[in-house]
């Protein structure tokens, strides 16, 4: 059921939600950008609607709630392995359509793909999603081409309409709180983007053969393998394991996992010194093909959701969408073929 609410009404809803949920939303963190006197838009717990940044795309993705950048798995004492506690509270995540689409990608890796990930699942099972409508595409967005500009599978939606807010609710348990705090009922269709400035076209006939193409060579020197594109990507899921012992007492320690990047040195290192994909261009190829080719080959749909954050963040102005659009050239160059 859809509702029109005042700001106070929305805040009353948030307040009631806060009794059972931590509410995560994109917020503007003043002075937290890398350059001085610039802001960073990141996910953080909120209590009022005024804290939510509606106007800009978040710099870092919501996925940090589901797969924290650094997550403790176990604590070790001398002879015991103790599982780290999960979050105490359920979570609500406010996010845009493209990002809600990326939840499906995270689920595919962490819940499906043969094994269920215990740590992901215990958070994921207790998360509700509130869709933030998009009136216009941001710079570098290409959600329409990736077909992620609309989504129906939200629990609720929230959008500014002039001085008021519109919410659509699809989660039965929340109906009464919205009913109580809404001004009036109405049909609410969350805004969605129908046109973007950036377009991508993923060619037919892609295969690993394109790794031989010359299109990757320019990235050998342009890319600085910092991994920002991975860390801001809402669909990147890779991690590395780390064991530590606490320095003040070598007898206890923990095992954790931290986000990993296929662009950063060390990603493929094997015992004894072997490593694969040493060139940045080949790392780029690995990342790009994962997003728009091989993930789909395994799971049936593209990994990339067209949010454009990798383009937004690259300090070397390497455009992922631009690279996708070069794939056609690469296919022709190496002689495209359709795989069985």
């Amino acid at each position: 059921m859809g509702y029109l609410l005042t700001k106070e009404g929305v805040n009353a809803v948030l307040k009631e939600w806060a009794e059972s949920y931590l509410i995560y939303a994109p917020v503007r963190m003043s002075g937290k950008g890398a350059f001085s006197e610039t802001d960073s838009i990141r996910y953080a717990p909120i209590t009022t609607v005024e804290e939510i940044e509606f106007e800009k795309k978040s710099d870092f993705p919501f996925k940090e709630v589901l797969i924290p950048l650094s997550e403790t798995l176990f604590f070790f004492t001398e002879d015991q392995v103790t599982e780290a506690d999960g979050p105490k509270k359920n979570a609500i995540i406010l996010l845009r359509s493209c990002d809600l689409h990326s939840v499906k990608r995270l689920d595919e890796i962490y819940i499906k793909n043969e094994y269920e990930d215990y740590y992901y699942k215990r958070i994921r099972d207790n998360v509700k999603f509130v869709l933030m409508g998009c009136k216009n595409a941001f710079e570098n967005c290409f959600c329409v081409d990736m077909q992620t500009n609309r989504i129906e599978t939200y629990d609720a939606s929230l959008e500014k309409k002039g001085d008021f807010y519109e919410m659509d609710n699809r989660f039965a348990d929340w109906e009464t709180v919205l009913e109580r705090n809404g001004m009036s009922r109405r049909v609410v269709v969350p805004s969605y983007v129908t046109e973007t400035n950036v377009h991508v076209s993923i060619p037919q006939g892609l295969s690993l053969d394109v790794s031989r193409s010359k299109i990757w060579d320019e990235y050998d020197s342009r890319c600085i393998n910092c991994g920002r594109c991975n860390f801001v990507c809402p669909t990147c899921t890779c991690f590395s394991m780390q064991d530590i012992f606490y320095t003040d007492n070598g007898k206890i320690g923990e095992r954790r996992r931290v986000a990993a990047s296929c662009m950063v040195d060390g990603y493929t290192d094997v015992a004894g010194g072997g490593a694969y994909r040493q060139k940045n261009g080949q790392r780029m190829r690995f990342r790009v093909l994962h997003k728009v080719y091989d993930f789909k080959k395994r799971f049936g749909f593209h990994m990339c959701t067209g949010c454009g954050r990798c383009d937004d963040v690259c300090p070397e102005y390497i455009s992922f969408s631009d690279c996708i659009n070069k794939l056609g050239i690469a296919v022709k160059e190496v002689g495209g073929h359709n795989e069985e």
Partner: protein
């Protein structure tokens, strides 16, 4: 021809090689101005000068080839620049009221440069506001970060932007980008311990390379604007030398108070027989001893808790 050269100089004109011909010196605090003022400079140069403009080593302009008799007209034309750049003035239309305290220079700062920790021009303008007009010979420069592109260590007061890096270990994934950046581009004060990063605050110079290098936003800038204040660098004949650190992690209020205190100190201690009433502060300190200077400089200064004052200070440099 009769001309009071003292008055001429104080009015920011220059006695030149050529008798009866002067040059007008235009101060641009922080070295940044609206482009519209360039056409005023052009007009002055073409109408009263020889059609050329010199960009000075202190980020001002000097318009040469002006006849003494045209100074009043030049001053009138200068009025929109003096006003537009918010220069303290006694009588509108009569040009600059002093020239002893030099233009406050600055690097491009954080309006443009990714490394800069603050808006150098804006800070320069605030300093200009409290120290000008003044006949005493002070040279002050500001630079956005420890790269010191503005060469502030060659000034009486050098102000270098610093950032106190803030570390969120929960966002750190141990990619070591910061450790490498600090080692290769800065002073190597970051170390990996247990897959997280430790910083040696004593040796950290606050350049912000770690913040710039961090791909996950684990490193961010401190909220407070903090600076390194270097003092008594100088060029010149007897003993050119680089400024030494006076206070590390000082704030804006502290810097301004120290500079104002130094004006009092110089007024008290300047050699009354100094040629042209001009003596570099550094030589005064050489004479009174650092301790006397420090006493004056730090009077009523409220320093931030983390500020580190270097004392005593010994300067090096070439001695002739």
């Amino acid at each position: 021809m009769d001309m009071n050269t003292k008055a001429l100089k104080k009015n920011a004109f220059r006695v030149t090689k050529q008798r009866g011909v002067t040059a007008s010196r235009i101060r641009v605090p922080g070295g940044h101005l609206e482009a519209k003022y360039l056409s005023v400079l052009q007009e002055i140069a073409e109408k009263y000068g020889n059609g050329t403009v010199h960009i000075t080593s202190r980020q001002g302009f000097e318009i040469p080839g002006i006849l003494f008799e045209n100074m009043p007209y030049v001053n009138e034309l200068l009025q929109p620049i003096i006003q537009g750049l918010n220069i303290n003035q006694k009588t509108p239309g009569q040009g600059y009221p002093a020239a002893g305290t030099r233009n406050v220079t600055a690097c491009i700062g954080n309006r443009v440069c990714p490394y800069a920790c603050y808006d150098t021009t804006a800070f320069a303008q605030r300093i200009e506001k409290v120290i000008f007009p003044n006949d005493l010979h002070f040279k002050i420069a500001l630079t956005g970060c420890p790269n010191d592109c503005a060469k502030v260590r060659m000034h009486d007061f050098g102000i270098m932007g610093m950032t106190e890096p803030q570390y969120d270990k929960d966002r750190c994934i141990n990619c070591e980008a910061c450790v490498k950046a600090c080692k290769k581009k800065s002073v190597n004060v970051l170390k990996t311990v247990n897959y997280k990063v430790e910083r040696y605050p004593d040796r950290c110079i606050g350049c912000g390379e770690c913040v710039l290098a961090c791909p996950t936003g684990a490193w961010t800038r401190g909220e407070k604007k903090l600076y390194r204040l270097t003092i008594m660098g100088r060029t010149g004949k007897k003993n050119p030398r680089l400024g030494e650190d006076f206070v590390k992690w000082i704030d804006e209020a502290g810097i301004i108070k120290i500079i104002l205190n130094t004006y009092d100190y110089v007024t008290q201690h300047i050699d009354p027989a100094a040629p042209g009433g001009k003596e570099h502060i550094g030589y005064i300190i050489d004479r009174t001893g650092f301790e006397e200077f420090r006493k004056w400089a730090l009077r009523d200064v409220q320093l931030p808790k983390m500020a580190e004052v270097s004392t005593p200070i010994y300067w090096q440099g070439v001695k002739y």
